[in-house]
Every structure is written in structure tokens, then in C-alpha cells.
């Protein structure tokens, strides 16, 4: 037995020669919490069964291909649960010895899971955009792959200012997530010198949005809802609940572009982007899954690639080493968005470009030209160090 092992190691060393690393087994998990939801406004947004999990399958393949040369193996377990079962699902993963966990859940559940997992576990938030998680509610064992609401709003704001469209009408929904998003746009306006000339709330009263004649009502109601607004250059739609934003373009009283939750949307990734080698990512993903990539898939893929990159460079698989490397100066990762992505060491947020997507193509990519920062132009998006109330990383 011992002899067989030695032979194996010798064989691995022959392949390596350069890496000098020993065999490492990397075990991770994706924990997805599913919530009861209404169907989306558009069939294009129907949620596939393997939403997010498909990104893990691709990441495992990518990491394994690299790992082969270094003697590193990767296994990622995928678990889905409802909110009630989230803790039990986490406990099962921990009992199984898994210490690297990518979480797709709402902010409250992400925090609950991070606190339950404790300091010996490293979690990656691949879904929740709440800025608070990067602010006072940050956790030392939680890194954020998903961009925050603040980053997304800033990405839109920079583009609008670059266009010299500084007068905004803000239409927001009535649910807490909509209000939080509206607040992100207010802050972005203040940060980049735009003015919100008028705000309106579109109340979520429920309703048969997709019935046969739904468009007749929409076509009559929305112009009325948006008439008599103060003079504005564009309309910002703060609709995190998918209640009204897709109806705004073409139905406004004043002919104005829409940005935010409809029209020009800030996204971490989309299936049409092909710049910076993204075509290869799209092809690999589509060959594997038979469908187009979604933001959640990309974010899960990216979380596991962060793990893979940190393992490749350090030869370790324990959370403490990987966390230290990811937050350190040497870490950088190519993510098909033109610039290397890195982490903000003060709150664990992944710095990244934000794509501005019209539903078919990249209209633009933020940060925009001319928005400078002493550290990185990427730090013009989202909470900067002095603004963040996060202290868990000190």
C-alpha cells in the first residue's frame, strides 16, 4: 500500500516538474436557497432548474483541467433547499467536511448561514446584491462575488453622466428590495452629480400582468402614470421585484430612455457578451448545459474560479490560506470582462466591470472613461473604503 502510494506521487511529480505542489483535494459546495416566486414578466427570464448550479459544473471542469497539471482535484457538491431547510443543508455540508461554500440566497439567509458556519468556513455570496452585506452587516468569512446594488447603480450613473444626461426621473416599486434599489440610485446620483428631479412609486398591487389583453391596460395606464413629470433626461427604473420595469420603455408619457431594471440594465454578465474572450466561455457553457448563461451561473462559476485560482497559486485548500491569498495583493483573476478582478480587502467585495446590456448586446461597460480613482478605476463602483462601515476585515 505504502509502495503504491509512493509510486503514484512519483508519477505526479514527473508530470509536474514546474509546480512543485503536492496532491490537493479541493471540496466545495454550492448551496442554493429557493423561494416561492411569481413567474417573471418575460418568458425569456424563466428560471431554469439548474440555475447557478450549471456554473459550478463548468467551474469544476475548468478547475480540474488546470488541476490535472498540479495534482489538484476539485469536487463541488450542489444542494438546493427552501429557506426553512437552509440551516440543515449547511449542517450536512459541514458534517461532510466541506469548508468552502458558494451561497445563492437572499441577504438575510446569507447572513444567517455565514454566522452559523463560523470562522473556519469561507462562504462566497454569489447572489445577494444588498449593499448592507458589504457595509455594516459584512462578515469576515463571507466574500461577495455578486456585485452590490451600489456598484450596479454607480455603473448606470457613470454612463448617464458620460452621456450628459444628468436629470433623472426615478420610478421605484413598493417592496423593500425596490426601495433599497431606489436608495442606491439616489446615492449614485449624488456621487456622480446627477439630479433626481422627480420620484414616483409604482405600487405592487398584484395583477394579471401577462393575460391576453394585458398590454391593452399597460398601454393605457403607464402614460397616465408617467405624465406631468418635471423635465428629465431619462427614467431610472428601480424594480427589484420584476413588477413594472419591463413595461416602461415605449409606454412613457415623455419619450425618454429607461435605465436600471429595464432598457439599459447593469449586469455582471449576459449570454451575448463576446468581448475579451467571452465567446469561449459562452461556448463552453452552452455545450455543457444546452442553454444560455445567466448572471447567477456566471457568479457561481466565478466564485469557484476564485477558489481554483487561489488553490493553483498557493497549493493549499484550507479556507484561511485561500481567504488570505484572495484578499492579498497577489491575487488577480481573468473573468472575461477586460480587466482582472480582485477583492476589496476592506469588505470582501469582488471588484469587477459592470456590463450595460440592452437585452441583445453590450451597450457599454462601466467604469466609464474619465472616472478615476487612486487605487483602481473599478473602485469608482460601489462602496469605497472610507464609505464602508464594514469592520470585520480589519
Amino acid at each position: 500500500m505504502i509502495r503504491a502510494l509512493c509510486l503514484l506521487v512519483a508519477g505526479a511529480l514527473l508530470i509536474l516538474s514546474a509546480g512543485g505542489a503536492a496532491a490537493v483535494e479541493v471540496r466545495a459546495a454550492v448551496l442554493r436557497v429557493d423561494y416561492p416566486r411569481l413567474a417573471p414578466i418575460s418568458r425569456y427570464d424563466l428560471v431554469p432548474e439548474d440555475m447557478g448550479l450549471a456554473g459550478a459544473t463548468l467551474a469544476d471542469e475548468d478547475n480540474a483541467t488546470t488541476g490535472r497539471f498540479l495534482g489538484h482535484t476539485y469536487t463541488t457538491t450542489a444542494v438546493t433547499t427552501d429557506a426553512e431547510g437552509a440551516e440543515a443543508a449547511l449542517d450536512a455540508l459541514l458534517a461532510d467536511g466541506i469548508r468552502l461554500i458558494v451561497v445563492l440566497a437572499e441577504a438575510g439567509d446569507v447572513l444567517r448561514l455565514a454566522d452559523r458556519a463560523g470562522p473556519d468556513v469561507l462562504l462566497f455570496n454569489a447572489g445577494a446584491r444588498d449593499t448592507g452585506l458589504r457595509d455594516a452587516e459584512c462578515r469576515a468569512n463571507l466574500l461577495h462575488i455578486a456585485p452590490s446594488e451600489a456598484m450596479l447603480a454607480d455603473a448606470v450613473a457613470q454612463f448617464a453622466i458620460w452621456k450628459k444626461w444628468p436629470r433623472w426621473a426615478l420610478i421605484h416599486g413598493s417592496n423593500p428590495a425596490d426601495l433599497a434599489r431606489a436608495e442606491a440610485y439616489r446615492k449614485a446620483a449624488a456621487k456622480f452629480g446627477a439630479k433626481i428631479v422627480e420620484e414616483r412609486e409604482f405600487e405592487d398591487t398584484g395583477g394579471s400582468r401577462r393575460t391576453d389583453t394585458g398590454h391593452v391596460l399597460v398601454q393605457r395606464q403607464l402614460p397616465v402614470f408617467t405624465q406631468d413629470m418635471k423635465d428629465h433626461d431619462l427614467v431610472i427604473a428601480a424594480d427589484a421585484s420584476d413588477v413594472f420595469a419591463p413595461y416602461l420603455p415605449f409606454h412613457l408619457w415623455d419619450p425618454r430612455p429607461v435605465m436600471g431594471a429595464a432598457g439599459l440594465r447593469p449586469v455582471s454578465f449576459h449570454a451575448a457578451t463576446e468581448a475579451w474572450g467571452a465567446t469561449q466561455f459562452q461556448r463552453r457553457f452552452e455545450a455543457l448545459t444546452g442553454r444560455y448563461v445567466r448572471e447567477e451561473d456566471y457568479q457561481v462559476w466565478l466564485a469557484l474560479r476564485v477558489i481554483g485560482e487561489a488553490v493553483t497559486r498557493t497549493g493549499a485548500a484550507d479556507p484561511a490560506t485561500l481567504r488570505a491569498y484572495a484578499l492579498g495583493d497577489d491575487f488577480e483573476l481573468a473573468a472575461f470582462k477586460g480587466l482582472a478582478v480582485t477583492f476589496r480587502p476592506w469588505n470582501g467585495q469582488l471588484r469587477q466591470p459592470i456590463l450595460l446590456f440592452d437585452g441583445r448586446i453590450n451597450v457599454s461597460v462601466s467604469p466609464q472613461d474619465g472616472f478615476l480613482h487612486q487605487r483602481s478605476p473599478l473602485d469608482t463602483l460601489g462602496l469605497d473604503e472610507p464609505e464602508s462601515a464594514c469592520r470585520a476585515f480589519q
Binding site: 508530470i15 509536474l16 516538474s17 514546474a18 509546480g19 475548468d62 483541467t65 488546470t66 490535472r68 497539471f69 498540479l70 474572450g277 469561449q280 461556448r283 463552453r284 455545450a287 485560482e309 493553483t312 497559486r313 488577480e332 483573476l333 481573468a334 477586460g338 480587466l339 482582472a340 483602481s376 478605476p377
Partner: protein, 323 residues
């Protein structure tokens, strides 16, 4: 052999410079543009398959090889008549390739399948498929022909493949998105560009072929965000003096001293400069500029851009016919 050299000498004396054809692959235009290296006039543009990227020539200059990425094949053209002669089995999505010094085999990077495919250019058969890292791209061959180096963009490695048994003998980790591998003429150094890492890794090659990462060159241009200094194509002069590196969206070609690794010059060229090729006398260096749809001619000795010439849509690769 001798009469040939004599004839070439006579031609040189008569015209002052040898005219060589320049072939540019246009990734979005699905064509190859042909230019004349003395007049810098466009001679013609011909269809080259879907998404032509990597482009090279047989040592005698008679055959033009083009990676038609979206056709999953390598198209082979008569370099004089531009007629397609045949295709070579390439594996899926061929992007870049390198030809053995003898003219065969051809080593092809298959970006989608994490493979390097080895193709016999005479028998038109696949000799080997070598599993490499994720998104293989850059392909270089050592001057002695013993090693082919492939760079994998997502794995971030340079893989050293022995041309004897097609096995990977060494792997060297480099910075993010390695794009291109270029040996110095004496074979003692290998330069690997990293697009997102923003560096050129200098790898020393020991006499027995063992590679060691020894230095990383980085770049700095006043007024250009460091994030946009993205090294892509690279070419080394055969006198061992200069390494030219295309810096992509920085619209510049950097000139690096091969010995001291110092960056001595930045040459302004067209937009999103991608791949490079010397004329055979190394008097001129040509750059493909993907966003401005042109190529720039650089005077190698003077480190100056002297001319830009419009070509097809999104020029990607460039090769110059041998003398």
C-alpha cells in the same frame, strides 16, 4: 541552392528591397487581405472561411495556412493564386498554430476543447491530440524544434510539449490570460505575454530544456490606465536585441531589451493592436489593429511607426511570405 541565392541577390540589387506578400486574416470580415511589402498597397482580399484568426505559411512560401475558427478547420490556400487547395483536420475552434521548422507537422491550439492537435501537413492526418489547460491559445516552437509551447488562457500556464513524443514535459504558471509564446533566437529564453496580468514572463531555458521563470516585465505609459496595458502578440528580433509586444487596447507596441528586460520604447499604432509579424529582413514589423481595421508598419531599427494601411474587418493575424 546556389543559383537561387544569386537570383535573390540580383532582384535585391534591382529593386532596392525584396517585395514580399503580406497576408492579414480578418476575423469579422471572413477574408484574408494581401499586401505588397514594398509599396504597401493592398493587392487583393479573398474569402478565407468563417472567423479566420491564426495565419502562417509553409517554409517555402507556397502554402498559406488559415485557422478558420468557426469552420473547425484549417484552410490551406495557394499563396499565389489564393485558391483553396484543401483543408486540414484541426479539431474544433482552431485559434492559433505553429508550424514545425520543416513544414510539418502543424501544432494547433483548439480553444474550445482544451487540446493541442498535431497535424501532418502532407498526409493530412492527425498525429496526436494533447490535452492542455483551459482555452489554449499561444503557440511557440523552440529554435531547435524540440519543444512546442502552448499557453492556456484560463489555466494560466505555459505547457512545454516535447515534439518527440507529444507529451507535456513542463508546466510553468504565469500571469492571467497568457496569449502568446515567443522564443529568443538562441532558444535560451521564452517570452510569454499575459493579457490581463499585464506582464511578459521571461522564462530561462536550461541547456537540457528545463524552463525556469526568471523575470516579469511590466508596462507603464503616462496617461494610459494601467488596466489597458494588455500584452498580446510578441515578436523577437533574431539578433537577440529587441522584443516587440503588442499592448492591445493601449494602442501601442512596447519595445523591450531582450537582455536587460527594460522597456525602452512605446510605439503608437492603430486601435486594439493584436498580432505582429516581421518582414524576412526584419526591417519592418507589421501590426494588426482590430478596432481600426488597419495594419501599421513599424520601422524596426528606428522604433517608429511609418504607415498604416486599411485592410478588412477586424484584422487578427499577419504573416509575411519568406524571401
Amino acid at each position: 541552392m546556389k543559383p537561387l541565392i544569386l537570383a535573390a541577390g540580383l532582384a535585391l540589387a534591382a529593386t532596392g528591397a525584396q517585395a514580399n506578400k503580406v497576408y492579414v486574416s480578418n476575423e469579422k470580415g471572413n477574408t484574408v487581405t494581401v499586401l505588397d511589402s514594398t509599396t504597401w498597397q493592398v493587392l487583393t482580399e479573398f474569402p478565407a472561411g468563417n472567423r479566420p484568426r491564426g495565419i502562417t505559411m509553409s517554409p517555402d512560401g507556397s502554402l498559406l495556412y488559415v485557422c478558420a475558427s468557426d469552420d473547425d478547420t484549417v484552410r490551406v490556400f495557394d499563396a499565389e493564386t489564393y485558391q483553396e487547395l484543401y483543408t486540414l483536420p484541426s479539431g474544433p475552434d482552431p485559434e492559433l498554430f505553429v508550424l514545425d521548422h520543416s513544414g510539418s507537422p502543424l501544432y494547433i491550439a483548439n480553444e474550445d476543447d482544451n487540446l493541442v492537435t498535431v497535424v501532418d501537413t502532407e498526409a493530412h492526418t492527425v498525429l496526436a491530440e494533447i490535452p492542455v489547460g483551459v482555452e489554449p491559445e499561444g503557440m511557440g516552437i523552440s529554435p531547435d524544434g524540440k519543444f512546442v509551447v502552448n499557453t492556456s488562457e484560463t489555466t494560466n500556464m505555459a505547457h512545454f510539449i516535447s515534439t518527440e513524443d507529444y507529451e507535456i514535459k513542463h508546466n510553468i504558471l504565469v500571469d492571467q490570460r497568457p496569449r502568446y509564446a515567443e522564443f529568443s533566437a538562441d532558444g535560451k529564453k521564452l517570452f510569454v505575454t499575459s493579457e490581463i496580468g499585464g506582464t511578459v514572463s521571461v522564462i530561462d531555458i536550461a541547456p537540457d530544456g528545463t524552463p525556469t521563470l526568471s523575470y516579469k516585465v511590466s508596462f507603464e505609459v503616462p496617461g494610459v490606465l494601467p488596466e489597458w496595458l494588455q500584452p498580446v502578440g510578441a515578436k523577437a528580433t533574431s539578433d537577440g536585441k529587441w522584443l516587440f509586444v503588442a499592448l492591445g487596447p493601449a494602442n501601442r507596441v512596447a519595445v523591450i531589451d531582450q537582455q536587460s528586460h527594460e522597456v525602452v520604447d512605446y510605439i503608437m499604432v492603430g486601435q486594439r493592436v493584436w498580432q505582429l509579424a516581421f518582414t524576412p529582413d526584419e526591417k519592418y514589423l507589421l501590426t494588426t489593429n482590430g478596432n481600426s481595421n488597419d495594419i501599421t508598419v513599424i520601422d524596426v531599427a528606428a522604433h517608429k511607426a511609418i504607415k498604416s494601411i486599411p485592410v478588412g474587418q477586424q484584422p487578427w493575424g499577419v504573416v509575411v511570405a519568406p524571401d
